[in-house]
């Protein structure tokens, strides 16, 4: 090999310089290690499940209880009431049968089915389209089946809104704070430019409380529980009643069941 003293010295110098900056690179690498709190754990009181699911007992609902359910959700999550319908934020809302269950009704439905609105919300699908299309993993599915939003990561591309076949997602076209007089400090509001939706009250389950809408029901209009637990209220209701789900033909496997 044709090497001279000169090239040897050059390489030796470069190596020495490399060693000299090692402490600096070490320090940089140190900073990248996050101080994960090793003690981080769910709250002792947290409600856990294999798969969370909800049963909506449509017949039990009254005008009053529909209002109460929606109001409880709005209060629990600082959801603004925006007069402009195009900017509306919806977590749980009223929909008519023909719109909620297109193709599932016949020509001659009883009037209490066709004319009374029913409550619809995010279905927390088993194979959620919104999660598949989200480019930033801002929306994801937890092990217990809840389809969650991480608003910190949402870039507002609205792919999830295009993906969701149920219209369960709303985009913040404007700052929601303008429409909230007294936001509850225990739950964040959202900011302009993110998508939001029902989270099955993950923040309440984490401290051992049932979802706000379920708690607002006086007569068991909404049932919430673990699909994998045969003794849960949801499993019992599903065994005892014929239930339907929204747009089952799409294969998203919704986990919100309706007793019509």
């Amino acid at each position: 090999m044709d090497s001279t003293r000169r090239t040897f010295l050059k390489i030796a110098g470069a190596c020495a310089a490399g060693l000299a900056v090692k402490p600096a690179t070490d320090a940089l690498a140190m900073d990248l290690v996050l101080p994960t709190p090793k003690s981080a754990a769910p709250d002792a009181a947290a409600l856990r499940a294999g798969k969370w699911a909800m049963v909506v007992d449509v017949k039990k609902f009254t005008e009053e209880s529909r209002q109460a359910v929606a109001a409880a959700c709005r209060a629990a999550h600082n959801i603004p009431e925006i007069p402009n319908e195009k900017h509306e934020i919806k977590w749980i809302w009223e929909e008519h049968f023909e719109n909620a269950f297109p193709g599932q009704g016949g020509e001659h439905l009883p009037p209490e089915v066709s004319r009374t609105p029913l409550m619809v919300l995010c279905n927390h699908c088993e194979s959620p389209a919104c999660v598949r299309v989200c480019p930033t993993k801002a929306t994801f599915q937890r092990a217990d089946g809840i389809v969650m939003m991480d608003y910190h990561r949402c870039i507002g591309c609205r792919f999830c809104m295009a993906g969701c076949p149920y219209g369960s997602r709303s985009f913040n076209f404007e700052d929601p704070r303008k429409y909230l007089e007294n936001p509850d400090p225990n739950y964040p509001t959202r900011t302009k430019g993110v998508v939001e939706k029902c989270n099955f009250c993950a923040e309440r389950l984490a401290i051992g409380q049932l979802p706000a809408c379920v708690e607002a029901c006086q007569n068991g209009e909404l049932l919430f529980g673990d699909l994998e637990d045969p003794s849960s209220v949801v499993s019992q209701a599903l065994r005892a009643n014929f239930t339907i789900r929204r747009k089952p033909e799409l294969g998203t496997q919704p986990k919100v069941y309706y007793i019509i």
Binding site: P35, P37, A40, A41, P42, F140, P188
Partner: protein, 138 residues
């Protein structure tokens, strides 16, 4: 050299404008901000402690430089893994900006904002997270 006058004048003007921040502020250093620890909750803790001092979750120096790292980790733990509490100094705390941090540091304007303004950083925490309301009569 052509256009000497114009070039020199231009250079002088550029130099003056470019160095504006330096000579306008003189050599005066803006004093480092002192975040206020005067909140009802902290005073209460101070009165309750034996030596009159209170430590945050971690030592003050660490909190000063790394609080954002803690918050970032809390966010991941809470949102992604549904972990709700973590223990610091042998006590369990909810990993929550508004429930844990802001419970003691309820004076956002005199605590958070002072340093953030000084360092000219605008964290977007409060675009969503709601800052605690001032107590009655404050």
């Amino acid at each position: 050299m052509y256009n000497t006058g114009k070039i020199i004048t231009g250079l002088v003007i550029f130099f003056v404008v470019f160095t504006f921040p330096f000579w306008f502020n003189g050599a005066k250093a803006v004093p480092a901000p002192k975040p206020s620890l005067d909140t009802p909750k902290i005073n209460e803790l101070k009165a309750a402690s034996e030596d009159g001092t209170v430590t945050c979750l971690m030592p003050t120096e660490y909190m000063k430089s790394e609080h954002m790292v803690i918050l970032n980790e809390w966010r991941t733990a809470d949102v992604r893994r549904a972990d709700y509490t973590a223990s610091y100094n042998g006590e369990l705390y909810p990993m929550s900006l508004s429930k844990t941090c802001m419970e003691c540091h309820s004076n956002k304007a005199d605590f958070c904002d002072r340093c953030h303004n000084y360092a000219s950083v605008t964290p977007y925490c409060w675009n969503c997270h709601v800052e605690p309301k001032k107590a009655e009569g404050e």
